[in-house]
């Protein structure tokens, strides 16, 4: 399946968002996730099934003003 993770097109085996984070090497407890512009809370990641073409954002704390 082809999805977009943080602006990069990637081919993934993952079925759920939780799987994808593991597969892509993200530190699941330190990031927040959104799929197609909608926030997906941590407890929902394991039940969130991905679809081909999904746009996934994985964000973490950064400097800000």
């Amino acid at each position: 399946m082809q999805v977009d993770v943080n602006g990069q097109g990637v081919t993934v085996q993952a079925v759920t968002l939780a799987d994808l984070l593991t597969e892509q090497g993200f530190e699941a407890a330190a990031v927040a996730t959104a799929v197609n512009g909608q926030f997906v809370p941590r407890p929902s990641r394991a039940n969130h099934t991905l679809s081909d073409g999904d746009r996934i954002e994985v964000l973490s704390p950064m400097q800000g003003g």
Partner: protein
């Protein structure tokens, strides 16, 4: 009180654009701030180090929605920030114009309404427009953060009369001048106007010596706060002698000698 939180230091400090994480850490300490602003971005280099740094600072975290141009983007970012930073506080920025980074007032109110209803404690980055301020308060905001000048411009308080009017119009709402402050004197001026706090970033981060500048801002904000509490003298158009006239010597030469 900012959503029930009493702050000793009334300087809120941004964490971006410092020459190094070490300088940022020292600047936070030197400023005496208790609130630092942070953002959410795609994970890059040094992410874990920054997480440790903000945890070690002991400061309250005020995440922002910087860079968002629509209410929907800002709402999603706020929801993600709440999960990562474990706080209901959110500095709500919905930018309407790329050159001025002026807030989009319509999208700002829309996002504020959604977030306040969802339990967020919203710090909206706004203008000094009174009607907009009222709409934000109606939406549930208990703090307003009017700009001093465009973000990162260092121009100081561009509309002092407007900020003064805002203070008078919202006597019971905590007001924070956010953005545009370039010098400690300008931060002190905001506090002298009766503002409750000042939020700035670039003026410290881009100083030649950010740590020393952080200390200078900390003291200026404190001085301005003390001045506001002490009550400034009324301004006059003409001079008024401060030394008494009564008892003054007469040095005029006597006549008829």
């Amino acid at each position: 009180m900012f959503y029930g939180v009493e702050l000793e230091s009334r300087l809120m400090l941004g964490t971006a654009q410092y020459p190094s994480p070490a300088v940022l850490q020292q600047a936070i300490q030197a400023s005496g701030t208790e609130v630092i602003t942070v953002s959410l971005r795609r994970e890059g280099q040094g992410g874990a180090g920054f997480r440790d740094l903000i945890a070690a600072s002991g400061c309250r975290i005020l995440p922002n929605t910087a860079g968002c141009h629509t209410a929907a983007e800002a709402v999603t970012t706020a929801q993600m920030a709440r999960e990562v930073f474990q706080t209901n506080w959110i500095k709500l920025e919905v930018i309407g114009h790329a050159d001025t980074l002026q807030p989009d007032p319509f999208a700002l109110v829309e996002a504020a309404r959604v977030l306040c209803a969802d339990g967020f404690e919203v710090f909206p980055y706004t203008t000094e427009d009174l009607i907009l301020g009222e709409k934000l308060v109606e939406a549930g905001c208990q703090v307003l953060m009017p700009w001093g000048a465009p973000i990162g411009s260092g121009q100081g308080l561009r509309n002092i009369d407007g900020l003064r009017a805002m203070r008078a119009h919202f006597p019971d709402i905590p007001l924070v001048v956010d953005a545009g402050i370039g010098a400690p004197s300008q931060a002190a001026q905001a506090m002298e106007l009766g503002y409750d706090a000042v939020l700035l970033n670039t003026a410290v981060a881009k100083a030649l010596d950010p740590v020393a500048m952080a200390a200078a801002f900390g003291q200026a904000v404190r001085a301005g706060q003390m001045a506001a509490q002490a009550g400034l003298m009324p301004r006059r158009d003409m001079a008024a002698a401060s030394t008494p006239i009564f008892g003054m010597a007469d040095f005029s030469a006597s006549e008829g000698m």
